[in-house]
């Protein structure tokens, strides 16, 4: 069996990817984290309707509740793949209300004002900023979109393997906190999927 399955025409339209990306974003929002990273993809795999990854993780003693706590601890201690605190909370320490500014901006310039700004000539050199919302980490992009030209994931177990391939330090810290490691988990995944480690 190959490690990856059928090639997708357009990785962005792969339903498994989109489902996992959306769930990872939900996990980041839920915890008020300032970025969406590999740590959140691990949580997304634990909530996914395809049980393959969840069962492999359970065999390593990793549950959703424990993983959420480990992710929260790793990120708030500055060992995650992105910023330790989210922009809204940081700006609030200065008395700046980011959600109010975002509401005002949408009311004045429309709901897609930021997307349109970044696509316009004026915004082409503009870096990411708080008005964009949480940023996706390079590790997450690699895990979801970087594998062998964007092959689709046959199961959530294949997505878990791609997540481990991304080499995320934040994910490694989370797995260590959960009494596992990327290496141990990789062995469990490859054994379960019947492919080479």
């Amino acid at each position: 069996m190959t490690r990856r399955a059928t090639p997708a025409r357009d990785p962005a339209r792969d339903p498994v990817r989109n489902r996992l990306l959306s769930a990872a974003g939900t996990e980041a929002d839920r915890a008020r984290h300032g970025y969406v990273g590999c740590e959140h993809l691990l949580l997304a795999l634990l909530t996914d309707k395809d049980p393959t990854a969840r069962e492999i993780l359970a065999s390593q003693g990793i549950t959703l509740l424990a993983a959420r706590a480990a992710v929260a601890d790793v990120i708030s201690s500055g060992r995650g793949d992105g910023p330790r605190w989210n922009a809204a909370d940081l700006l609030a320490t200065l008395g700046v209300d980011l959600p109010a500014i975002q509401r005002q901006m949408r009311a004045e310039y429309g709901p897609h004002a930021i997307d349109e700004l970044y696509r316009s000539p004026v915004g082409r050199r503009l870096s990411w900023g708080p008005l964009c919302g949480p940023k996706m980490t390079p590790g997450l992009k690699k895990a979801l979109f970087g594998n062998e030209g964007g092959a689709s994931f046959a199961t959530s177990g294949h997505a878990l393997l791609s997540l481990l391939d991304a080499g995320s330090p934040g994910l490694a810290a989370v797995l260590t906190a959960l009494g596992s490691s990327p290496e141990l988990l990789r062995l469990a995944v490859t054994e379960q999927l019947g492919c080479a480690p």
Binding site: A72, L90, T93, L94, L117, S120, S127, L131
Partner: protein
């Protein structure tokens, strides 16, 4: 012992990491708000010179920052 501390705790202890990160976030947001206003002004037909005056910076600065390459060589747009 966990190294995790909340933002509120860190802010209440005047942790420079929080203060600096907050200022960085504010600067990034101001850049975005400025760009939004520049885009709106250009769509309303404002010249780069008028935008520069309103921002209190030179026309060259606003040009360098926002003008696309096809405008870069022109003296007035």
């Amino acid at each position: 012992m966990s190294e995790a501390i909340s933002l509120a705790e860190a802010a209440s202890h005047r942790d420079p990491e929080v203060g600096l990160a907050a200022v960085a976030a504010l600067r990034q947001m101001l850049e975005q708000l400025e760009a939004l206003q520049v885009k709106a002004a250009r769509e309303d037909g404002w010249t780069w010179e008028r935008i520069a005056d309103a921002l209190g910076i030179t026309r060259q600065s606003v040009h360098r920052k926002y003008a696309s390459r096809r405008f870069a060589g022109r003296r007035r747009t």
